[in-house]
Amino acid sequence: MATKPELLIDAASLADMERLIEAGADAFVIGESRYGMRLPGDFDIAGIAEAAKLAHARGTSVYAAVNNVMDNRTVDTLPDYIRALAQAGVDAIVFGDPAVLMAARSAAPGMKLHWNAEMTSTNFATANYWGRRGASRVVLARELNLDQVIAVKANTDMAVQVQVHGMTNIYHSKRPLVHNYFEHQNKDGSVENVPVHGRREDGLYLIEAERPDERFPIYEDANGTHIMSSDDLCMVENLHELMEANIDSFRIEGLLKSITYNETVVRAYRAAIDAYVMDPQGYAFQDEWLDAIVSLQNPSRELSYGFFYKEQVY
């Protein structure tokens, strides 16, 4: 038997959590948008407490997303919020801003901390830097390739989390870009009946002239404007390469997907992980795992290996 990696996903509600636990998820990232970034649903403290209770009863974990770029107003409320998260029973706090680390040190000294700086968590030495300051897990940037991911794992004692499925954020601005654009259009009276705010449920996407087949979702919320990748990462075929490297946690991004789709994805990865852990030597990828995902995949969004096998220049 090999060490069993964790299968981690977000959830929009308690009901979704139930279904995803049933499908085989081991852990959840949840939170509220005042503190956490790009969450599919808002859980207040009472909701988080319920979620933790549900998760623990089923042998799963709950991590609270406190990974926004924080302003002074929010920072002033962090000690109380983190204390409340600890009382709610969360298993860890996900952070990017050092302000959260500072607040957690005093408000919840024993709390586990996962360092997630999105696209800027790019090397083992910096992971270890945060490890020395109290983080127990590094969430790696999606822009790393497999060799780099493996080298991070080989050079740290921290748990290593990578995203294996779903869309990724490729641009985050504090500006209300969609609102601003439609305001500009309306100034000369050329636009009627458009959503002035690009809320997530509006389903807006960008197309760049030279890439007509790629659709980049764009939406706005209280934290600004988010642009997402045009492809969905899908590593289920090659998951054994990450399992051989003893990566600790596999993250599925469920944002902007239906619960049925996310359930199907969780089932596929669950099957792959269980088969591998049972018998690493005899492990063989099963086409049916991928087929199940493909059958529900939006045809305008390619399933890709992201940056896992790419070399980037600069």
Binding site: A99, Q148, I170, R175, L177, S190, A209, Q312
Partner: protein, 417 residues
């Protein structure tokens, strides 16, 4: 965004104003010299590695030493941007590189990646470490964290407002640096991998291809949201320009005023530094009677290449702060020459040609501290006295009669329309 709001000031009691540092970009050694000569208190440059402008000239260690020596004559400092987010393979070699910077006499590095911060503190203790804007720091508690880590200065996120800066200054005793002029990422700095996705170029290691300034169509369910001939969607922002708001920035206690633009021209750097230098000196000399001078604003316009706005200092940028229409090159002037020497007896200057000019053209001469005059170019010769119909050879030395005395490193610009 036009606004008449002022920053929160300490009401009721007078407080001593600290004179801020004016920090200018220098893409190469010549730009460094001019930035310092025109009044920068410090300049920041890029070395051969670890910087975010892989397309800029970038300094060798030898050039850094020469730059440091030059700056020293003016009491100015040289900083080096080591602001990439490192990948595993970038870690080897980091210690040696930082030691070389220390040996070259560099005063500070500007670092985003904590491992570069920590390594510098360990192996090159004489280098100050300034936290880069790429860390998107915009709250006092995070600033406090970096202070406790031993950093003397934090460059704030460009999203921080004047009010937030005042709160940070009130809570933490640390130097705060803020961008006051130049191009801006429209995203949180560092939180953008558009280049990676569009062109496989790593934005956080210097490969940014400015995809935010490209044009996009915005769709919902296969239907374009606006007509095909309407202005397209873009994330591209106007440039930051805070010249009209120097008192507000000084009053909230910003310690270092940073001008963006290691890729910008010599003329741009000298012109922008010159204007801010005069505004800062004028306000510090007599805050009560300070007046913004129209000529400073006019000068900035002669070098600007995008329309300006005030970023997040007063409020969140709106529709008017983006560039949806086709960009027009705003500057009606071109850099034409640099004064090499001046002969008082004959009233002539030797000018190194930097762009085409010819007799009959309107030009302006300017130097540090606002020295300035206009004239028409008269007869010109080469240094052997041969008459020329135009100065058309790059870097050629041209003799020209000037209507007022000029000094070496004064600049000449010509009107182009």
């Amino acid at each position: 965004m036009v606004t008449t709001q002022t920053a929160p000031r300490l009401k009721g009691k007078r407080h001593r104003l600290a004179k801020p540092e004016l920090l200018a970009p220098a893409g190469n050694l010549e730009k460094l010299k001019f930035a310092v000569h025109y009044g920068a208190d410090a300049v920041y440059i890029g070395g051969q590695k670890y910087g975010l402008r892989s397309n800029a000239d970038n300094f060798s260690f030898e050039e850094m030493k020469e730059g440091v020596e030059f700056a020293k004559q003016y009491g100015a400092k040289v900083f080096v941007a080591t602001n990439i987010y490192a990948h595993n393979e970038d870690i080897a070699g980091l210690e040696d590189y930082l030691r070389e910077l220390e040996l070259a006499g560099i005063a500070a590095i500007i670092a985003a990646d904590p491992i570069i911060v920590e390594t510098a503190q360990r192996v090159a203790p004489k280098l100050e470490v300034h936290l880069s804007t790429q860390q998107s720091t915009m709250n006092w508690q995070a600033v406090q964290f970096w202070k406790e880590e031993g950093l003397p200065r934090v460059v704030l996120a460009r999203e921080a407002s004047l009010e937030e800066i005042a709160e940070i200054k009130a809570n933490v005793d640390i130097e705060i640096e803020a961008f006051i002029h130049g191009a801006m990422c429209s995203s949180f700095s560092g939180r953008c991998v558009l280049s990676n996705h569009f062109t496989d170029r790593d934005s956080n290691r210097g490969g940014c291809c400015q995809s935010c300034r490209w044009k996009y169509d915005i769709y919902e369910d296969d239907i374009a949201m606006v007509g095909m001939d309407a202005d397209k969607f873009t994330m591209g922002s106007k440039d930051l320009g805070m010249l009209e708001h120097i008192p507000d920035l000084i009053d909230v206690g910003v310690d270092s005023f940073k001008i963006e633009g290691r890729m910008k021209s010599l003329h741009y750097v000298a012109t922008v530094v010159n204007a801010y230098r005069q505004a800062i000196d004028s306000y510090m000399a007599d805050p009560e009677r300070y007046e913004l001078k129209q000529e400073w604003l006019d000068d900035i316009q002669k070098a600007a290449n995008r329309p300006l706005n005030t970023g997040f200092f007063y409020d969140t940028p709106g529709a008017e702060d983006h560039i949806y229409e086709p960009e027009e090159k705003a500057a009606p002037y071109d850099f034409a020459g640099v004064v090499i020497s001046y002969d008082e007896a004959s009233g002539t200057a030797v000018v190194q040609q930097r762009n085409h000019f010819k007799p009959g053209q309107q030009v302006e001469f300017f130097g540090p501290n606002g020295t300035f005059f206009k004239q028409t170019v008269g007869e010109i010769t080469d240094t052997d006295g041969n008459a020329l119909d135009a100065a058309r050879h790059p870097l050629q030395h041209i003799v020209i009669r000037t209507e007022s005395p000029v000094k070496p490193m004064d600049m000449m610009r010509k009107r182009i329309r």
